[in-house]
Symmetry: D2
């Protein structure tokens, strides 16, 4: 069985003694073994990053960006391999893995614009013959801690921008599916990154806590669940660092009576079940305004779900794959059970799905639940599985009140064709990423990603323009040259 270690200072290392299995969620079997970093190993990675910093800091942004141009080429050339690595450990279908990679590449493309993005502000004559300007300088060593559900995309939200800003990086990817992450780290090195500028450590809480408390780490970016995000934010900041910690979600779609229902169903299908619902932007709740809309939605959705195909990653005719672990499979099924127990109606039931040839896989079938109400546990918590819950309300305001009362504020969407309804919704909804007839309103790479309320801790969002501010610190210089000595001296020295 292959053993996966760390990538430190341009070298693969696997010295640590603690190990953990990596599973293929479609077969349910362990496929690789992961080395878990000790505090010393993480400190070694930090030290490598710190040593590489001075030279990387002084490398012109244009040169740093050119590493990203080459990285993009390598990612594109090795797309199939990356998708396969994702599929083997995460379980998502190849088309979905390629989609994930593509969204990641968009962040690499954005980072190619570093020379433009890093421009400072220059003010001539802030006073008589006094100039002042602000530069955006790198922080030093920064760290990223990333989740299992996007082993390639989320690291690519962080690393490219952190690196082109001039920082050195230590990445701790998910211990569930680190192979694809490790592979792209090596591609980045191959693209021309100097040794030590990027380091990857595999590990668990020991690695995380080392990153959070070591004073050489200046900033931490995290994506994961809200309880962990909260711990990361409190710990990193208590250690004097800047931190952005992205947490969980409960994304609602409002379906208005004037919505194009066929389109809405089609959009919801992918947004609810794609990647088994294991996306922080998955649309897991549909709020229908009026019973007519609700009935139509249930009817058309039920029909559409009949065509959903669940299975292993390597058959691209599948719509989605298994969930990440046996434990998580049981948790998702538990939420469906609880909804049923609390009075909801299971319209399409995915609890007992079996996939021929993959009988031990961690599969849950697409599930549709009607008549969900706010007090249900399945509504209050994040399921992170292929489950779409439908709620029924009497007005758009009631639907918005539901959303605004929820603890999360990551993404949301409205289906309507009415300009006024759309504007009222986007203006007044307490959610950071809003879709108008767009069910997964993930901002493109040149905007920034982030939720509101307990979906994000920190003041700057992930990737895009905010990443420049997060990964740099401002230095403001004020300059006056006091006397004309040399300039006028010349005149005295050489009289005509």
């Amino acid at each position: 069985m292959q053993t996966l270690g760390h990538f430190i200072n341009g070298q693969m290392l696997a010295d640590d003694t603690r190990r953990q299995a990596i599973f293929n969620p479609a077969t349910g079997e362990a496929s690789r073994e992961l080395v878990l970093a000790s505090r010393e190993t993480v400190e070694q990675a930090i030290a490598a990053a710190e040593a590489a910093f001075p030279a990387w800091r002084d490398t012109p942004p244009l040169k740093r960006a050119r590493v990203m141009f080459r990285f993009k080429e390598l990612l594109e050339q090795n797309a199939d391999k990356i998708a396969a690595l994702i599929g083997e450990e995460h379980g998502k279908i190849s088309h979905d893995a390629l989609g994930e990679l593509q969204r990641g590449i968009e962040n690499v493309e954005y980072a190619c614009g570093a020379p433009e993005l890093l421009k400072g502000e220059h003010s001539k004559n802030v006073g008589p013959n006094i100039d002042s300007w602000s530069e955006f300088q790198p922080l030093g060593v920064v760290a990223g801690i990333t989740p299992f559900n996007f082993p390639v995309m989320v690291p690519l939200w962080m690393m490219p921008m952190a690196l082109v800003c001039g920082n050195c990086f230590v990445l701790k990817p998910s211990e569930r599916d680190p192979s694809s992450t490790l592979y792209i780290a090596q591609l980045l090195q191959e693209a021309g990154l100097p040794d030590g500028v990027l380091n990857l450590v595999n590990g668990d809480k020991e690695a995380v806590d080392t990153l959070l408390t070591d004073s050489r780490v200046k900033a931490v970016s995290f994506v994961g669940s809200t309880p962990i995000a909260e711990y990361i934010y409190a710990t990193a900041t208590a250690n004097g660092k800047r931190c952005q910690a992205l947490g969980g979600a409960k994304n609602h779609a409002i379906v208005m009576p004037d919505a194009d229902m066929d389109n809405a169903v089609n959009q919801l299908l992918g947004a609810a079940f794609g990647s088994s619902g294991e996306r922080c932007m998955a649309l897991s709740v549909a709020v229908a305004v009026g019973d007519a809309a609700a009935d139509s939605l249930i009817e058309k959705m039920t029909a559409a779900m009949a065509g959903l195909k669940v299975g292993a990653c390597n058959d691209s005719s599948n719509d989605f794959g298994p969930v990440i672990t046996r434990l998580h499979q049981e948790k998702v099924v538990g939420y469906i059970n609880s909804a049923e127990a609390q009075g909801a109606k299971i319209v399409v039931d995915g609890r007992d799905v079996t996939v021929p040839g993959y009988e031990n896989g961690f599969f849950v079938g697409g599930t549709l639940i009607d008549q969900v109400t706010p007090e249900m546990q399945s509504y209050q918590e994040e399921i992170f599985g292929p489950v779409l819950q439908v709620m029924r309300v009497n007005s758009m305001q009631e639907a918005m009140d539901l959303i605004n009362a929820h603890e999360y504020g990551n993404g949301t969407c409205i289906f309507t064709r009415d300009g006024e309804a759309a504007r009222y919704f986007s203006d007044n909804i307490q959610v950071g990423m809003v879709g108008i007839n767009v069910p997964l309103p993930v901002p493109v790479a040149y905007h920034s990603f982030g939720g509101w309320k307990r979906s994000l801790f920190g003041d700057l969002h992930a990737y895009g323009p905010d990443a420049v501010r997060f990964y740099t610190k401002r230095k403001t210089i004020t300059q006056r040259w006091p006397s004309a000595g040399v300039r006028e001296g010349a005149q005295f020295a050489f009289p005509s």
Copy 2:
């Protein structure tokens, strides 16, 4: 004796039972009495702010900016009164108080540009017929906690920008000199701010802790000493808030052998002793490169200091006034004593200064200390008094190593006429605000203020462009209109 209360929801309140005296530092006598807010009072202020938020949030930025246009007029019309209030409680001389006010007004002027500053980013066709844009929306209720040394300027670093961004504000000013702060809060109300949009509570740790832990407060801006800044940052963030906490400083000036020494001395004089050195940007250490430069600096500085005049705020011929409290006076003298005890040479001694007619005032005279070395306590800690310490080094690199090794990184300056030396300095010094022949490199209001290392906790600086990002959260909207119904329907409905 006048009693100072709180300003909540457009009303003055003084219900709390705990009281504390305010002193005139020039006379050493208590002059007013301050009401200290209880938790309930602070919660009342927060509630008022929260109630005012929806309407203020929806007020167009142009209208919010117009309150600032009027506020600027009122501040200018009442400048003398404001300066007098500052002088009576802080002790700074009228010209210095007017200077403080002027720097504050510059922040009001900047806030007048809110409509421009709040522009979001709009992207057409992020996909076919899909548009996306980001808006910068206010946070809700935000709080400011401000220090005694700039009772008008530092609140004006925070309030104008927070307000024009659409937030409601709760300010807790210093308990040493709150009268001028309270007065400008009332002027802001007079300028047209609706009730509850700005609230001011006087108080101590109870008030501070309420602001830090109440979940309705979304962001905290703080300026003060580093230990408190660290506490504020850790506590506010542990409570899920965004926070920027500005702390202490130890600002060095490098005096190069090619510097125009007369100019350097003239600049240092104001930068070291102005406002009794009670500025986080005060230049408290001069590092002379080479003994020739050091000897010349000591000689010319000694001569210049002979003309320094210390006294009460109302005589504008004075250069600076008392320090803030008896306790602080003793602390400053203690630092001078310790330097002497550790081997430094007291060249000009301000320990025993007396001001006729103000024999009980908290005065310390301008003090010049030579041969200061890095291990001395007076070097390692922030004195915050009218004391200039001189260090001697053999090279510019040695001087820079000193600065980079210090825990603070607020401001610094180099005196030289050499372009290369200036650029090397500004590039490699680990300090956030850098002066080239500018001893107090406070960024102008349209740049942002912030130090590095333990001088600032957080990722965004105070005022200027960073304030827009700190006081707003990003909302990103992605929009697609799915079908041509109405547009093409018209064609079907009315055939030619």
Copy 3:
């Protein structure tokens, strides 16, 4: 009778011999006499501006902006006087004149943000130890030539931004109604502008041609009719200047079947007849999609127009006043006659309106014409009078084709509640300023004003962000300091 001269170098001058009468359009009588500048007088103004330039250029942007802060106060304090001066010579009603002034003041407010707006772009390390930055420097002497219909607002589109950018200005206002323009020029001087920075010359083609051909004038901003705009653009550019020339318009509103008709009629009423239709953004054509919409529009509009009141400027119950000259009155009536002759239906006829007490005034009443078709002269040309023409089409696409085929592309609007229709319209319409349910989509002062096609010649729009680029030229500086001499020399000079 009062004689109006020029304002040059801070002085009023009236040396020229050629004179021309200024009329009160409500009475039809000459009320003042205008001095027409000779070439020599204009050259004197240019020379004054050129002499004032070096000092004004070197005045920090913050100080230049403060002149605008004071100018805003003076404009607000003297609003009634300004409105009266506009009314006496232009004829517009006081509420309309105050509205014009308010829109002008918004441009003054925007100019107060000059320090932010003039920031250059700074790039550290464009190569190893090489920095580069761009500054936006003033051009020198620039000129504005402005129309009669907004004697205060259009000069305020130009002067504030040109001045805060550091330029000196020569303004040639309309010879029909120069009094209010001259008055605000004097207020600007009172606000603290140094002599010569702003100069105003009254005159005709001789003045215009001098400004267009004198090599000391670096840029020309013009607003007027398209034939003149074309002449201005060709002549100014042939003389090597930069130029922006805004011309005529024919602004259409599409009324969709799903529009809120009462709202549409209410909006159209002001947009078509306000200021007697003498606005380049006046909505002069309503294109109804489908006969049902057209019939409803005609019916409701006819009813609404019954309440329109035409009269003199000083009665604020009037809705609009006379047109600017006898000649123009005849021209407007001529267009109505031609429409009738070419087969259109005059639904409401304003040709024979009389205003008691003002029988000699240049009045035209509100006129509504139905069944207008593209080949009619009244459709092809700009009427610039209180005339609303209605066209009937069968589809939204047909309406858009009409608009896109017209030679002008200034403003346009659609009335609908459908998001898809609005987006399709704004995306595909060949017009620079687009309203969605906003009949006069004049951009606010912090955006920029400009049409497409033959409505604007040049590449930068008026006021707002574009004004910064139009009134400045870019200077890019690349800097490297070649050797460490002084910095390292110090080390050699003082060995330890």
Copy 4:
């Protein structure tokens, strides 16, 4: 002999009857034959561009940028072939041609950032519930006319930015060396550009005039000599187009007495003689302040020039090659003769250089002339050859007065180590591109290129941020949704 035609709508065409020879300037022999486009052929290219516009305009900026990512790869892969094509027709040495290509590629890299660069400005609540935003939309068909001296770089200044902004392009390259230009046009097509989006026509004045007068061409970018630039600007604008026309130069370097003379000489050597001085940024005049500096400069430069090697493009040990034509060779020699006749001293004489094996080549050797004075013809006009003229002045101010009095204002440089002198120079010199110890201050691709005075006609510079504004027009949309119908209607429809 190979015949070069046009590239229109994705096809090579060579139908025109007029032909002209292309020479190899190193051998003096005709090597290829060029087809000169008739008006009809140019109109065909414009028509192809116009037809391709709607689809290209609607292609998301991200997709347009990806063509540039691929284009960059192709340029890098084919660098040697491109350099060879440049060398054969222009004569520049391979390392110089590769340098030209590299600067061109930097513009392609900048264009890859189109999604960021094309962001519009979005303002929420310009009034109550009214939003407004500005989009930057493409112009349609735009044209570029480029010079012989950079057959690859200057087209790459224009095309990438014009194309990613959504325009279609017609390029007319120089008729002296079109092969490399034609080749990169084909690579751009290979990179994925749809047919017709880029078209290239070879030709002479007939082609140029067609582009200047055809109403379908919306904008013209030109680089060449000042008399032609002036003609282009006047003609294009008289035809209602926007235009930027870059002309000639006379770039001075000031050598201060404190300059590091070895460095200055080393820098001047490349800047004066590189590419045979046929660069609009070539440094052709050195102004020494004081005779000591002048004597030292002459002495060291004479020594350095002894090592200069002139010859054919394919020997990379050569420093520079021939000039472009026999006629131009004679013109350059004529300027040297005239300088001698007017009293200057020819220190190093390149008039009679011969290159073994290339006796018929158009070579001029490196020439150094001392004691040049302002009235000399060789000073007043642009030589565009490998000739460095030295002037002697007594003060820096005198040197600056010389520069400011010259009709051109393209580039300039100062050699000094004094911060004050550098700042005074960059502030007060009337030149658009300024170097501090940088002899060829060509702005990097993420700033913009342009001179002042008669070196540029128009208001926006070439490439970089200005290119976005030049190649787009602003559309400002103001939106209000008038009533809550659908949103509240839902409430009425479904009462609880």
